[in-house]
Amino acid sequence: MSIDRRRFLSVSAASISGALLTACNANPERAAKLLDLVERKNEGLERGLFRHASMDDVPGSARVAGTDFPKYFISDAVPVWDASARGVWRLEVSGAVRTPLSLTLNDLVRLPRITQKVDHFCVEGWNARAEWSGVRVSDLARLAGATSDAQYVDFAGFDKDYHESWDMASAMHAQTLVAYGMDGRLLTPGHGAPARVHSPVKLGYKNTKYLTRIVFMPQRNGGYWSDLGYEWFGGT
């Protein structure tokens, strides 16, 4: 009986530690490959589940974060467009399009304006509301005549070499804006002035601030945080 007892205690101890070792001590490279594979499968699923009709409907009465809305950028100081050195700010729309665009802030403001109170979902876990004003990326795509080669879109800015590329479907979502206004005023430098991408359908890091270029492409080209190991898709 005592042999019995000892045996089952050692068998159970061995299997418990075995289970925990598999969890914690898995060969990092093999684990990384498996995690990559699952990330690709998850992305396929997430893109399959994406619906243009799925919208963020924040109640009109909801409180906006206002001055508490977090600001972030990767440069050492707040990036500010220096017109005396770089000339007037322009947004270039190019790549797989029939007519490339080069728009000043005045041009943007004259295009059909969308104003929407939506969530901002940060990868860190917090979310914040603001009322954004701007132009739909889908309107810019139509204006530039994006071709069937346009399967991905890269959004690049002047905050160092920050950029993030998106799948076309998310970029064409009705709530994906090139925003130049926030809570009824023009964007401030802390929030990406003169214009930035804003959409509730992607996590914050996909929403490039200090925007200067929109490039439609047949292939994706990664992004600042995606290249550092965060999910490329980053959808919500």
Binding site: M1, D4, R5, F8, L9, V11, S12, S15, I16, A19, L20, T22, A23, C24, L34, L35, V38, E39, N42, E46, L49, F50, R51, S54, M55, D56, D57, R63, A65, G66, T67, D68, F69, P70, D119, F121, C122, V123, E124, G125, W126, N127, A128, R129, P200, V201, L228, G229, Y230, E231, G235, T236
Partner: protein, 246 residues
């Protein structure tokens, strides 16, 4: 004396241990994700239900190393957790074992009797089925909590795509809190569970590994409370014998 009986089917044993691995990865990586911003309030608002708002969980309890890594583990291991949980629940349902864990009328009274017994108010271990009434409630609550955690997890993973699910938990902020609080409750139950296994019925470890269980060593036969009669029976197993306490 050994009275060996087959207590746990291999499906239960396998899913139990796969679940332990999945829970460890999910809770560890979840806490690492939490630490990236350990607060539930939106910027500029306050959140009164979390007294430790802003305080991170000790890093040694977390898994995944950094936020991106923890997210990769979380969104990979969630498939293991869900698939395994599905097999377990389907087996319980199809094989009849759900009767061992679904509370029925009378279990509330039996649970009170168990508490009285553990508090030395009652002398003899109440006699029940495979699990005592307290165990049944814990084992029933665990999968329920699991379902709440998975649903609230989907609600915060895809707050736009699964917006209807996020709305089920009011909004993203509340879904996130439910997800976190669900984990805290599940881990608390699991810790009590593991404590009771070692303090009351270490002989059941064999039954969750090989499936076999020695009836002569059951808590009923040993009249076992936490740390009492761990080694063997000191009173006859007959239920109404009023033996001396301890």
């Amino acid at each position: 004396m050994t009275e060996l009986v087959k207590r746990n089917h291999w499906v239960i044993r396998l899913t139990h241990w796969v679940n332990v691995v999945a829970i460890v990865i999910m809770a560890g990586s979840g806490m690492r994700i939490f630490n990236a911003h350990p607060a539930f309030a939106r910027p500029g608002e306050s959140f009164s239900l979390n007294p430790w708002e802003g305080h991170a969980i000790p890093a040694w309890l977390t898994f995944g190393g950094w936020l991106g890594g923890a997210r990769h583990w979380h969104f990979a291991a969630m498939w293991l957790l869900v698939a395994n949980g599905f097999v377990y629940l389907a087996f319980l349902f199809l094989h009849g074992e759900w009767r061992d864990v679904v509370p029925r009328t009378g279990d509330a009274r039996d649970a009170i009797e168990m508490i009285k017994f553990y508090l030395f108010v009652r002398k003899n271990h109440p006699v029940g089925g495979k699990h005592n009434a307290l165990q049944k409630m814990a084992y029933f609550a665990m999968p329920l909590l699991g379902i709440v955690i998975v649903l609230s997890g989907l609600a915060i993973w895809k707050p736009i795509t699964f917006g209807f699910m996020t709305a089920m938990f009011v909004n993203y902020k509340w879904a996130r809190f439910v997800h976190f609080a669900g984990m805290v409750l599940l881990l608390a139950l699991a810790l009590v569970h593991v404590f009771m296994v070692f303090a009351v019925d270490p002989y059941s470890l064999r039954s969750i590994v090989t499936g076999w269980y020695n009836r002569e060593r059951s808590p009923e036969a040993r009249n076992a409370r936490p740390f009492y009669h761990l080694l063997g029976p000191s009173v006859p197993a007959a239920p109404d014998t009023e033996g001396p306490p301890s």
